[in-house]
Amino acid sequence: MTDTALTSGSRPIPWGRIGWLLLLGATLALGIWHGLLPWAADYPKPWVLPLAKQITTLFKASLDTLMPATRAFSAVLQVPLDFAIGLFAKGFPLGPGPDAPAIPRLSWIGIIAAVTLIGHAYGGRKVAAIAFFCFAYLAVFGQWNPAMLTLALVAVCVPVGALLGLFIGVAAYRNPRFDSYVVRPALDLLQTVPAFAYIIPILFLFGFTPVTPLIATVAFAMPPMVRATTLALHRVPAEIQEFGAMAGCTRAQLLWRILLPSAKPTLMIGVNQVIMLTLNMVIIASMIGAEGLGFDVLFALRNQKIGVGLEAGLAITALAIALDRLSQAAAEAKPALYRPGTPFHRRHPHLLLGLAILAATTLLGTFLPAFAAVPPEMTVTTAPVWDGLVKWINVNFFDYFEALRTFLLIWILNPVKLTLLNLPWLGAVLLAAYAGWRLRDKGLAMLAAGLIAFPALVGLWDKAMITVYLCFIAAVISCLIGIPLGVVATRSRWFDRVQQVVVDTLQTLPSFVYLIPVVMLFRVGDVTALIAIVAFAVTPAIRYTIHGIRQVPPHLIEAAIATGCTRGQILWRVQLPLALPEIMLGINQTILFALSMLVITALVGTRDLGQEVYIALTKVDTGRGIIAGLCVAFLGIAADRLLRAGAERFRRRLGIAARAGMG
């Protein structure tokens, strides 16, 4: 095989590399002399497929028939949403008009006490403290009302998303064909198409109702639950399944009484992901009418009110951290050991106490206003401080930021942008195909070529290249920062602890929040987008590097020490080479993270596919949005498949090398 000839690097002619050089040369030549083959350099306009228009027409045509169904669906979901909003945020009016008597919402003191108790029940004092401080932050910083609106949305989205994900996951588990032909491709698409893009058809079908953001959020937050469900069910030991069969379980008993309870820990990780993604979606959901914290952030961002935006953004983060830790603690909690015959109130002390406090404080709230709503004199705001800080930085350090900005633009951003914009589309497609073929087989070659060609076919090639350019630079910078940080974290304990806290926080922050400080310092434009993307996309590079180095078998390290390697030699000759497949997967994730952030940065004025989606959203142009979204998704899937194939090839090579070494 030419592959082995390539790796051994000896006599045989390296056809693979020659192929690369020839293709690259041809592509560059085409790019430099556009006249050579004009149709191969710039995709000819007449060849563009009018897919976007056709999709829009299709949607418009089907709207009349779908309308009753979507209306009914909305009406059903409206019930729990109204209830949650009433319970947490607005109370239940008993008559028309604003002054009508109402059943009050839950008291804020009661809610804080309840979450603290939940934290204590599942995770002891530590989790209780985290829950308490996060919710107290919401109250003290005057974010209580919007936060409760957001919580109401979460309270409906999470059960709906988790249950829906569970059922789809179970169906996929039971029917492998349904899994591989329907569920997996759909999940891949849902997770790579930017959330903005599928908001558009949802918006189109359901209109501007309070339920629409709910549906979009569920669609966004559900996929990890499906994956967690199928994974968890597949991981149940075969013996436990066989026990179920031997005990004479019916299919339903096997599922509900054996499989799902045994799989609970992994299922709870799925639920945790649903919660986090729901909160991530809060700001995007507010673009199509959701009230709450997301709306405040968006409003502040649009009006350049940095302080207000930051406080609301941090409130989302506080909510996210609290719910994350609570759900993680619940997932890890082991069932308490009660001896049979323990009375109900002894078995559920937290539950009863929590309910009692909620009822008592809410009741008190009808007499004492301080129990019903956070008293204004109790709240503080730091917004002026932040605004002042930004002003101060801009006054004193403007030149430095400007110099950095100009440097990045002139020496890095613009040259790469120009190169990519001049890249002939046919050359890029052929390069992708060649990479697919070299890394795996013809199938991957066709897939890669098709995915890369799609933006050209629909006439979005230039915007796609701007997307690639931003994403590429962001990924490179993220890796340059993230991989060394990951290496340091495996070698220094205190640094590892620090990075864990920072990375955890970065991951719980909704992606919009990254934009706020960056916009203030670098104004709108590509540099701002780049920095925000890097801040978001650097986490997987760090995580996977740490994971890769940690999973190097300890006996190999011992062997290296025993042969007298220095620490540096161990790193460069043993750890890094063996961690390479994981690091490649980290790069892969970094690219996907960058792509998902890219669409959000369209808000700060990039001219890429994200902007195309954003424009489509403001015009509710279904076809345009879907096509642009698909372009982003296809670029992401192409990068994902190629990098995975590369990592796989590396792994195989390491496996072969290890075996040869043993023999």
């Binding site: 030991p237 013996e239 436990i240 066989e242 026990f243 069969a245 031997m246 005990a247 004479g248 379980c249 019916t250 008993q253 009484r257 054996i258 309870p261 045994s262 609970k264 082991k334 069932p335 050991l337 009660y338 001896r339 049979p340």
Partner: protein, 354 residues
């Protein structure tokens, strides 16, 4: 030799509880049509040529009521697959599995559920306890899914928990128990429905050697009380010798010999079986019956039974220095056993010890 005619084994006269006839399990494409299209059973070469893997090949067995039937084989021999074919956890490619006179492979799903609920129990190598249930609920689980009323099933669960010696740990969760205790729970759970047929799939392989011995003794104690029909899988020949009424030795998916431990030791069918039996202590396996000679006089030092193991009587026979009479229950003289023969066997000399 005279020994060959002596009928050995408890099973010969009892009816078969479970029997399987020409059971095949082939992995690979079109395995069924491959088997169906042949007048004679295919050999290994023919299977390989068709790209099929023969996990279980043409196995025919009879398991008698109340016996411990052990299937012994090394990993990859197909013993676990055979067990799962007998329990119909996997569908055999061909053959019949007859349980109490009916072909299990023809039973519908509902019938299978009914049979498993009332007539079968199974113990697993890695215990397969449900992590979210207490010991009591784990043991009561098979009854719970049959909707047995709560106090009735908990009472029954307590009963079997006491039987396996775990009284007092009913409220514990599996993760709080040692391996040996977990397997006791597994055993109790499989006994909760009072099964007629008991499958034990390498039940003690995941345990430490000392615990394993203790559990083997425990199983013997239980079986003395319960008298179940047991199909026991193991890769440990010593364990098989210790517990079995009869043993089937498997290799490459086929049963190469079935017999009592004594038969296997005395007359190994192949070199492969002989390899296993070579280091077995003869005195522990062989019975008086197979070492006795025709009675030729009086002056016996005492009387022994024909089914007693040599190891059990060796000391007294050698000490007496005189032959012992061998007599059955009715007192009829069957033959005699000489101290010299016992000594020869113990030190591995003579025909039987070869």
């Amino acid at each position: 030799m005279a020994l060959a005619q002596v009928p050995i084994g408890a099973s010969a006269e009892k009816p078969a509880k479970l029997s399987c006839k020409h059971v095949w399990k082939l992995f690979g494409q079109n395995a069924e049509s491959f088997l169906a299209g042949r007048p004679t059973p295919p050999d290994a070469a023919a299977l390989a040529e068709a790209g099929l893997v023969g996990a279980v090949r043409d196995v025919t067995l009879d398991v008698a009521e109340g016996e411990i039937f052990i299937v012994m084989g090394l990993s990859g021999s197909g013993k676990s697959t055979l067990l799962r074919c007998l329990a119909r956890l996997i569908e055999p490619t061909a053959g019949q599995v007859v349980f109490e006179g009916r072909d299990l492979l023809k039973a519908s799903e509902a019938e299978m559920i009914d049979i498993r609920r009332h007539k079968m129990g199974m113990v697993f190598q890695n215990f397969a306890l449900l992590p979210h249930l207490s010991v009591l609920d784990n043991v009561a689980f098979p009854l719970a899914i049959q909707s047995v009323p709560k106090d009735k099933r908990l009472a029954r669960a307590r009963e079997v928990i006491e039987l396996v010696g775990l009284k007092g740990r009913e409220g514990a969760y599996p993760r709080e128990l040692s391996g040996g205790q977990q397997q006791r729970v597994g055993i109790a759970r499989s006994l909760a429905v009072g099964p007629d047929l008991w499958f034990l799939d390498e039940p003690f392989s995941a345990l430490d050697p000392l615990i394993r011995r203790e559990m083997q003794t425990e199983l013997q104690r239980l079986q003395a009380v319960l008298k179940k029909t047991i199909i026991f899988i193991t890769h440990d020949f010593d364990e098989a010798i210790r517990l079995a009424d009869r043993i089937a030795i498997m290799k490459d998916g086929a049963v190469i010999q079935t017999g009592t431990p004594e038969e296997l030791v005395l007359r190994p069918a192949t070199e492969y079986v002989a390899e296993f039996t070579r280091d077995v202590q003869r005195a522990k396996v062989m019975s008086v019956r197979s070492l006795m000679r025709p009675a030729n006089g009086a002056g016996y030092a005492g009387t022994v039974r024909p089914e007693q193991k040599i190891a059990a009587i060796a000391a007294q026979v050698i000490e007496a220095g005189k032959p012992f009479a061998v007599a059955d229950e009715s007192g009829a003289l069957l033959g005699e056993i000489a101290p010299q023969a016992v000594l020869d066997l113990l030190i591995g000399r003579g025909p039987a010890g070869a």
